[in-house]
Symmetry: C2
Subunit: 277 residues, 2 copies
Amino acid sequence: MLIDWTKIALDIYDKIKAELINFDKKPTLWAILVWNNPESLRYIKQKKKWADYVWINFKLLELKEDISEKKLLEYINKVNKDNNISWYIIQLPLPKHINKNNIINSINSDKDIDWFHPINQWKMLIWDKTWFQSCTPMWIINILKSLDLVFLGKVVCVIGRSNIVWKPVIALLINEWATVICCNSSTQNIKEFTKKADIIIIATWKPKLLKEDMLKKWSIIIDVWFSVIDGKIIWDADTENIDKAWHKITPVPGWVWPLTVAMLIKNTLKAYKKEKL
Amino acid sequence: MLIDWTKIALDIYDKIKAELINFDKKPTLWAILVWNNPESLRYIKQKKKWADYVWINFKLLELKEDISEKKLLEYINKVNKDNNISWYIIQLPLPKHINKNNIINSINSDKDIDWFHPINQWKMLIWDKTWFQSCTPMWIINILKSLDLVFLGKVVCVIGRSNIVWKPVIALLINEWATVICCNSSTQNIKEFTKKADIIIIATWKPKLLKEDMLKKWSIIIDVWFSVIDGKIIWDADTENIDKAWHKITPVPGWVWPLTVAMLIKNTLKAYKKEKL
């Protein structure tokens, strides 16, 4: 079976929409856009589209691309203190003359709906369930949960290592009582480990690394990353040659963005409901 | 071979002492002691003993046990601003009427030599090598490094799950390019995983869980926790019956405290050298 994450995202939106319709006032999500390069604009458009769809106001705070880091920090400080702005995101990437970490660290952690601030990242790692999680690790867990999985006792093999995605994913899986095997490019005999896994999560940038003969029957594969070779997208799993009768596997055509945006919208609803309490 | 962590700690102290003797001024480590119960006093005594040994000033800031949380926060705020105090620790445990997290979050993260503040915990998880690590995960890595180990490509099985120790240990091992298998009490057939491991780190509170027939030859076992049964200390590994010709194993008589304190002293030296730059 191919896992259709566009459909999973749509289901999430429809649930959120059904819930928001009961509120007398729309929540507002603010976005600071410093650099209107094509990449940032594509992301912002997606966020606006789905915010509109679920009945969330989406307001853009546009700044000039040549703003100095100091001026940007002053602006963020103002937004942090503005009682009309409950939560906001800062659209990445930022122009090259600005240090991304300085900017992220300056966000008021209570208003940080992307959950990027170090204090929030830490809360996620220790699994403070009362609040949000950041979007990328969250959608991986959400896809798996949409398959009615119970993580307790399952063996999950995570291939790849990065600070932003993998460590949070590993922490979230451990919190759910999974047995987690963390592999990387230095792992010898990776097949030995993938063969044991009920679930494999892969992001290696190595085209078609994961093949049918490395899998246990009935395992689920979440393929997070791809390479572009001669203009063609090649995923980390050899999806074409993996038997879909035996395995559930992403991707379907399309990219993970629908789900990342869905998680942002989900966080906004959660924050709004918390504020209403 | 039994791993003698008292000796490893002593080697660390002697190295630090040899280095500190070259400085014209002693560094000072400050400790806030709110509750002079026997447990806290035992910890404080150890810290003072080894600070003295390596030529570090150890200064105690004693507060009354019945101090309110508000007053304690005010006091910490004063210490945070005091230019004479470069780093300090707050000795745990705290009296029960005080919320530990509120206190830890109020420490100026730049003065937090125990590395307990969320921002510092996060820095450790993303492996910001320019600064410290907190003491417990750090000594586990230090023991292993004292055995001239290269982590790259090694398989490490971590048994147990907790926020303070395990997630940082797992993150540190991943940063060192080890393949890490994270097991917990829901793991089925734990032997399947321990059999593959070059290194096993165990803290389960389950007496003698880890036995000889679960081990790969030549593997190293770091046994972090014990239970007390009928007044007798029983470790998580069945140390008596594990062959010391084939395996390197902790513990020797004595407890991990020497190493935890050694890491604190190591952090103090590191901070002092950084300040001198």
